[in-house]
């Protein structure tokens, strides 16, 4: 299909902005200037954003949630947000368990600051992040009563995965037990800063029966007898060394386990769930991620890879892949595309059910900062059930039912109301919502039939308020509720 020198057509440029951001509106596409650039140039352009700081605030969870939501609605650097969302899901931490708004805010701030940084450094920072230390019981992991929770999830979810791609176990229970020892004694101060309490740390001399602190006995690229995590001394240094060791772990095919798994997940995130293992290996090789751990470099390799462009192909092509939009993407993209703003401190849409966006998102299955568990959210078709689909339809209804005040849907600001040709009206609306090239001619005909009541009204007078409120708003809702709009 192409490579990093392939020149981007407008649909491909639009696709790139859609998958790396929210939307985009025509203005965003124009401003990006990436039409006509090569994939590589465009990737550099997109990844060249300046890290924007997120300043958490608010005493209760709803306020913090809405603060981040509004930050996403406004940002000029949506790729940063897409990366933070990925990392948030990866290092899943749930407010329902932590119950501390300040600590959750610190963690989200951290993810913003390291969103395109060094992945290994990020894992080390997450180790010592207060919300995480609380969420996965690091602060309850003491020398006399080790708690394995963090050690297990660190390997299973943040780095290695339970099994490699050939189905071979990546670690044993004994490795979990040993890593839990390294993490004993860590806690945090009131301001969220990490604090090491060596009186609670497991020292070998105190617990000779637990053996030497080693991992991976002769497996996964490590020598017989295992590799020690006390090479920089016992105590506070151990947890960084553990990460250094995990990042050297190789799978049963001799490839770096963390690099492969992270690349594969990021590919699935930005592209689709059927990406071949070879594509993950490609992007690791091209980016050097298995040695530099540079998230931006890995993203660049993904954004120029053919796998990334498979979801841009119209669905009637057998090559086409599709990925289900996350609820947060569905909501933020829609509001950005239609220039809608939430109303009030509760951030609701000024129409329909007047349900706060937080509740709408919860009904769709995604409250940011409160994932269902340490596994984060289930992606792809797991996003869609009768329950969550209805919630998306509800949101679409609320958008078009917003007819009062300044926070309403204003088609006149988005399109020319003088057009009367039903086909042109349909194309204009599907353009605005970015799905024109994803609809078959039969689907386009369905929308035209709706607009014209099966041909009985061959021209549509959008200047008539009743027609506009019924048919044009109805058309917007149908497109937002359509199958094509649930995916990208």
């Amino acid at each position: 299909m192409g490579d990093e020198n392939t020149v981007l057509t407008e649909p491909m440029a639009r696709h790139m902005l859609r998958r790396t951001g929210f939307g985009p509106t025509q203005k965003e596409l124009d401003r990006s200037g990436i039409v006509g650039l090569t994939r590589g140039q465009a990737a550099d352009e997109l990844l060249g954003f300046k890290i924007k700081k997120f300043r958490p605030g608010g005493r209760d969870f709803d306020k913090l949630h809405n603060k981040w939501l509004k930050f996403m609605l406004k940002t000029r650097f949506p790729l940063q947000q897409k990366l933070v969302l990925f990392l948030h899901d990866h290092f899943s931490t749930a407010f329902s368990t932590v119950r501390d708004v300040k600590l959750m805010g610190f963690q989200i701030k951290l993810l913003h600051s390291m969103a395109k940084g060094n992945f290994k450094d990020l894992v080390k920072a997450i180790n010592k992040n207060a919300a995480m230390m609380d969420f996965l019981d690091t602060i309850r992991n003491r020398k006399d009563v080790p708690n394995e929770n963090y050690a297990r999830e660190l390997m299973e979810l943040f780095t290695l995965g339970v099994r490699d791609f050939a189905g071979i176990d990546n670690y044993a229970q004994e490795d979990i037990v040993q890593i839990a020892r390294a993490f004993t004694g860590w806690n945090f101060e009131d301001n969220g800063d990490p604090e090491f309490r060596d009186f609670q740390h497991d020292f070998m001399i105190d617990y000779p029966e637990r053996g030497p602190k080693v991992l991976f006995d002769g497996t996964h690229g490590f020598p017989p007898g295992g590799v020690s995590f006390t090479t920089s001394g016992e105590g506070a240094a151990e947890i960084d060394v553990v990460i250094d060791i995990l990042f050297q772990h190789t799978d049963s095919e001799g490839k770096n386990t963390v690099a492969r798994r992270t690349a594969s997940r990021l590919l699935e995130y930005f592209a689709h769930p059927d990406v071949a293992m070879s594509a993950a290996d490609d992007v690791v090789t091209v980016s050097g991620f298995d040695t530099n751990w540079d998230i931006a470099a890995l993203c660049r390799a993904i954004f120029v890879h053919d796998a990334f462009f498979k979801t841009a192909i119209p669905p009637d092509d057998p090559e086409a892949k599709k990925s289900v939009k996350w609820p947060i993407d569905y909501v933020v993209s829609t509001m950005r595309l239609l220039k809608m703003k939430p109303k009030g401190r509760e951030a609701y849409i000024n129409g329909g059910s007047f349900t706060p966006l937080l509740d709408q998102l919860q009904n769709m299955g995604q409250v940011i900062m409160d994932p269902p568990s340490v596994f984060g959210w289930n992606w792809e078709t797991a996003w869609l059930s009768s329950s969550t689909l209805l919630s998306r339809y509800n949101f679409a209804r609320d958008i078009v039912a917003a007819r009062e005040g300044g926070k309403r849907l204003r088609p006149e600001k988005l399109m020319d109301l003088n057009i009367t040709n039903p086909g042109t009206i349909v194309d204009t609306v599907t353009d605005l919502l970015g799905v024109t090239d994803q609809l078959s001619s039969a689907e386009r005909d369905v929308l035209i039939d709706y607009l014209t009541d099966n041909g009985s009204n061959p021209t549509i007078d959008l200047l008539d308020e009743d027609v506009r409120n019924t048919k044009l708003h109805g058309l917007f809702a149908l497109v937002m509720q359509s199958p094509a709009y649930q995916v990208h």
């Binding site: 019981d137 309850r140 708690n147 329950s387 969550t388 209805l390 048919k471 149908l478 199958p483």
Partner: protein, 476 residues
């Protein structure tokens, strides 16, 4: 050429009947009743305790026959953070509640008094020591093992499908809606690609959302919506095919299910209030199940679900688990579940259909025998509960309490899975529980269970599930 059922199943992803039958079908609110030759006029409810319920503090040794109490007290301490439940604190049924192997008297965690009361009426089967070979301590992996029924690989059965889902796939097609999950997402045990499973959180909010500006336009909107979803399924792109089928099933069900809420509220107002009085998520979720069962059993049009799943989370008690104190975390969870199950049962009994509903309660694993500071880490085998009416179930204790002697637990501190018939501590494989349900409740022939739902492991009979016994005895 007509479409055979097998072809039909292959062509459908989830609820894609529209693709085959055309939009006209969905314009007709008729959905035929479920096939009668299997589950018949009965219902199955699966209840998942998410996070790994501490079995040792759920069904607890009361006396010391077989040394169980001594071993329990060695593992669970008293004082600050101690999890030990004293015999006097346990909820002990007045009817026989003893471990079949050691003969030890058992008691329920005090929070489970509601379940204890049902036990006394003979409505509960407690199945001890449930697990599987080569146990896994990851929540995610172990949940999938229980939900798919594949501890060691799928044995050639369709991977990614749920154990109950494979039963559904045999018995139902795309035009049926045999199962409902009370959640935002479909329970893994019902996953398959032949028929529709709904996810409904609350019936009263399950109606299709039309913009009320011009009611006369609703039919046009509905037709356009339905046509768009039919087109999506017809295109053949797998993800859109899935979206198309799910959206169609959602549209049709959104027109038949919400009324069940109103009917129940009107006709069973006092029961409705009792669930509200408990004021917990589990009670509210089971109330939704009760509403649907009430509707189906009374022949409400367009609803036919007979399989349900609900979930209660919070069992991952690594810390602050609590013992017998009423504000404790584990106490609170048990109280929520025990009281809710008792009310749900009584509601069904009042409807006159307690004998038609079987509720199966499971968790992905139990917890470490020895406690940590004030909680427990992940463990292996634990108890399951099966609840049903007088003629639906043989109440009692089945399976053996796991061997919790320090000399018997493995190097990771967990009880060992064993199918050794000569070992008094023989474990219960959860697949035997499923098998008993499939055979005796869903009327499946053994050969079909083995061929289509649960495949035995390959390996030594003492260590693996190689000789299935689908007659644990808790079902008549």
């Amino acid at each position: 050429m007509g479409i055979t059922r097998r072809q039909f199943i292959k062509r459908s992803s989830l609820a894609t009947a529209g693709a085959v039958l055309g939009p006209g079908f969905f314009g007709n609110p008729f959905i035929r009743r479920a096939f009668a030759e299997t589950i018949g006029d009965r219902y199955l409810v699966v209840l998942f305790l998410d996070g790994g319920n501490d079995g040792l503090n759920t069904v607890v040794p009361y006396d010391n026959l077989g040394g169980l109490r001594t071993a329990y007290e060695a593992a669970r301490s008293t004082g600050g953070g101690g999890l030990r439940l004293a015999p006097g604190e346990l909820s002990v049924p007045s009817s026989s509640f003893t471990d079949p192997n050691t003969g030890a008297q058992l008691g329920f965690h005090p929070g489970l008094s509601g379940l204890g009361s049902l036990y006394d009426q003979g409505r509960v089967a407690v199945i001890q020591g449930c697990g599987y070979p080569e146990y896994n301590l990851s929540h995610d992996v172990s949940q999938r093992i229980w939900q798919t029924g594949f501890p060691l690989g799928s044995g050639g059965l369709p991977g990614g499908t749920g154990w109950a889902g494979r039963h559904l796939a045999l018995e139902y097609t795309g035009i049926d809606v045999p199962a409902v999950t009370i959640a935002n997402s479909i329970a893994q045990e019902y996953v398959q690609n032949a028929t529709s499973v709904l996810a409904i959180r609350r019936l009263r909010r399950f109606g299709f959302p039309y913009d009320g500006y011009e009611p006369a336009d609703e039919t046009a909107k509905r037709n356009a919506f339905s046509a768009l979803y039919t087109e999506a399924s017809a295109g053949g792109q797998p993800t859109l095919d899935f979206v198309g089928g799910s959206g169609q099933a959602t549209l049709v069900s959104s027109e038949s299910y919400p009324v069940l809420h109103d009917t129940y509220e009107d006709e069973r107002a006092s029961w409705d209030q009792l669930y509200s009085d408990i004021d917990r998520g589990m009670a509210r979720d089971l109330r939704e199940v009760a509403k649907i069962i009430y509707g189906v059993s009374n022949g409400a049009p367009g609803v036919s679900a007979r399989f349900y799943q609900a979930r209660n989370g919070g069992y991952d008690t690594h810390a602050d688990q609590g013992g017998s104190e009423e504000n404790g975390r584990h106490y609170d969870l048990h109280k929520e579940v025990g009281d809710s199950l008792q009310l749900f049962y009584e509601d069904l009994a009042d409807m006159g259909i307690a004998d038609k509903v079987l509720t199966v309660v499971w968790s992905e694993f139990s917890r470490r025998i020895e406690q940590n500071d004030n909680g427990t880490d992940h463990g292996s085998q634990g108890p399951m509960f099966v609840i049903g009416g007088e003629n639906a179930i043989n109440g009692g204790v089945y399976g053996n309490h796991p061997n919790i002697e320090s000399s018997a637990i493995d190097e990771d501190g967990n009880t060992v899975y064993s199918q050794d018939g000569g070992d008094g501590f023989r474990s219960t494989d959860f697949r035997d529980v499923y098998g008993t349900v499939l055979k005796h409740w869903l009327s499946m022939p053994e050969i079909s269970i083995l061929d289509d739902v649960l495949s035995p492991d390959v390996g030594p009979a003492n260590s693996y599930w190689t000789v299935p016994d689908f007659d644990l005895g808790f079902l008549p």
